[in-house]
């Protein structure tokens, strides 16, 4: 197919469609993630988790789940009758996420009397805008996902890309926009005009500002190795660059392996997740910076936290876990060497980039977020700062030097 250059209006319409798709994806993923959080943590702690709202193919049904007549309810009832724990209990409580969302939407929206009203309203919006604008530069699939059929009105023959924009400085754009998100926390904390939010806000701002340094430094490793700042080019080259010799290749893979853990640790701190969720240490600070927030404003903070979890997972996937390719840590060239010209169509397909691998890795990393939350206790504040400044920053600097040496050797 001959690639067509869209006119400005067509470009605008396609971009808007893409934005709707990406936003829809994130907005559905976030409530599902909160539900998964309940279920995964329950599973780790040998509980059942949310079960009261029974889900089936014919809608939600409240009540005694093993007798409900819905599809999964029927199967589960059969299993109870057979004297076994129902396997479909994973689906129990699934409609709960709709109930959660409705609860947040319909709750009373309280603005404290002495709060700075304008800033109080502005800051959740700021947090959310920063967390969602980042997706403009994240590439879910390189190249076009599909082409509009020629008969399609107005847009016939144009590509629908797996990314919103392909800017040359995509990585910097992501880091820059994400760094604006900290204002949501600090300003929200200040505008509440209350002690606990202010303390929580200061804590988390200090945490985010300090962990931004090792996070950015650890992302410099892929920048140095690929010599680019373009998201697509970086992730493709990190996954598929064939090393000049075995030693460099092994060093590169090891560096990516270590870099992945360092980056993910910083990412956990950036998103205020356990074990770094000091901003909302309930036993010390009530709920941190969003103590005074309720209803939809609270859920804006909530959404932005989960959206930035998705961002961190996407970046870790793209730069360390092989991006749109199957194998992580730069092992894809080895795989491709054996299977690229394989007669088996499936094996040949695994050598090509696909949105499927990217999404699967993101989902796995999101699971890791929940897994860690269910497993690890919270750090103390001085420990948090020690980990950031005394360990992570020196490690990332050493990694940076090694990356430069590898680049020199290549």
């Amino acid at each position: 197919m001959i690639p067509m250059t869209p006119t400005l209006t067509q470009y605008l319409v396609i971009s808007l469609l893409q934005i709707v798709v990406v936003l829809g994806f994130v907005m559905t993923l976030v409530p599902l993630l909160t539900f998964a959080e309940r279920k995964v943590i329950a599973y780790v702690q040998v509980r059942l988790g949310a079960t009261r709202v029974a889900g089936g193919l014919w809608g939600a049904q409240q009540g005694r789940t093993h007798q409900s007549r819905t599809f999964t309810g029927g199967l589960n009832g059969l299993m109870w009758w057979l004297g076994r724990v129902p396997v479909f209990s994973i689906l129990r409580g699934l409609p709960m996420f709709i109930a959660d969302a409705l609860k947040l939407l319909t709750k009373e929206d309280i603005v404290p009397v002495n709060a700075d009203k304008a800033v109080f309203v502005l800051s959740p919006a700021l947090a959310m805008v920063a967390a969602f604008t980042v997706f403009a530069a994240i590439s879910f699939a390189p190249g076009a996902l599909f082409y509009f059929p020629a008969s399609f009105p107005f847009l016939g023959g144009l590509p629908f890309n797996g990314f919103l924009t392909d800017i040359n400085v995509g990585l910097l754009f992501i880091l820059g926009v994400a760094s604006v998100g900290v204002y949501g926390i600090v300003l929200g904390a200040w505008a509440s005009n209350s002690k606990y939010p202010l303390l929580g806000g200061l804590r988390s701002a200090a945490q985010i500002v300090s962990y931004e340094v090792p996070l950015t430094l650890s992302l410099l490793v892929p920048v140095v190795l690929t010599g680019s700042l373009n998201f697509n080019e970086m992730s493709t080259r990190m996954a598929t660059d064939v090393p000049v010799n075995g030693l460099v290749g092994i060093g590169r893979s090891l560096l990516m392996f270590v870099g992945f853990f360092v980056y993910t640790t910083c990412g956990f701190a950036e998103t205020n997740r356990t074990p770094f969720d000091l901003a909302e240490a309930e036993n010390e600070l009530v709920a941190g910076f969003h103590t005074e927030y309720s209803g939809m404003k609270f859920s804006f903070f909530f959404l932005s936290e989960y959206a930035s979890m998705i961002t961190v997972s996407a970046l870790a996937t793209a730069f360390f876990l092989g991006g749109h390719y199957l194998l992580p840590f730069g092992l894809q060239p080895v795989w491709n060497h054996f299977f690229e010209h394989s007669s088996n169509a499936f094996m040949a397909w695994t050598c090509a980039p696909s949105i499927l691998w990217f999404l699967l890795k993101i989902f796995f990393l999101l699971f890791v977020f929940l897994w860690v939350r269910a497993t690890l206790p919270r750090y103390r504040y001085d420990q948090l700062m020690n980990v950031g400044w005394k360990f992570l920053i020196p490690y990332t600097l050493i990694m940076f030097v090694i990356a430069a040496l590898l680049r020199y050797a290549a």
């Binding site: 400005l8 800033v119 800017i167 820059g176 604006v180 300003l187």
Partner: protein
């Protein structure tokens, strides 16, 4: 539609520039120091928008990362934690008004001259476009490469002198803070 979009695209620079000036106005005229910082932040983001509309995406994003993401956060920290009303009553601010007004007037005149030359002068079309030739690049370089070649190859001496000036400012800040404590 097509024409409208093209016009908007061409005038984005002016739009962002006016918004940045508006943010700067909030910075100066608002009563609350935190509101001032928010105005400053808005202004910085709009300046990044100006850079982006001139296709200097590296500068724009660096502006966002360094100023909006780093420096203004530190401003906000200080302003949030210091009770400014106390100092307002002592009248230690705005004591230099009578010197400031003529200086601002001279500054305005100079800037008006510069803007007139940049926007309406003979070289007006080139002033607002990225010129590869200026950094001595013959091939079509990316933004980041062009900037880094300019900074670290062609203009390395001015760049280093600038960093020495920053060092002077740093030492000055330490000296000021020290004398206050003794």
């Amino acid at each position: 539609m097509e024409k409208l979009l093209a016009t908007i695209g061409q005038n984005l620079f002016v739009l962002f520039g006016l918004l940045a000036v508006g943010g700067a106005g909030v910075l100066i005229f608002s009563k609350s120091a935190v509101h001032s910082v928010i105005g400053f932040l808005f202004s910085m983001i709009c300046v990044a928008g100006c850079f982006l509309s001139l296709q200097a995406e590296f500068l724009g994003v660096a502006q966002l990362l360094v100023y909006a993401g780093g420096i203004v956060v530190l401003f906000l920290f200080v302003v949030m934690l210091v009770e400014l009303t106390k100092y307002q009553e002592q009248g230690i601010f705005q004591t230099q008004t009578k010197f400031a007004i003529p200086l601002v007037g001279i500054g305005l005149l100079i800037f008006a001259g510069v803007f007139r030359a940049a926007l309406f002068g003979p070289s007006a079309p080139e002033a607002l476009t990225l010129q590869q030739g200026l950094v001595g690049a013959t091939e079509n370089l990316g933004n980041a490469q062009a900037v880094s070649r300019g900074l670290f190859a062609n203009f390395i001496l001015p760049f280093e002198i600038l960093s020495v000036i920053l060092l002077v400012a740093l030492i000055g800040a330490i000296v000021l803070a020290k004398t206050e404590r003794v």
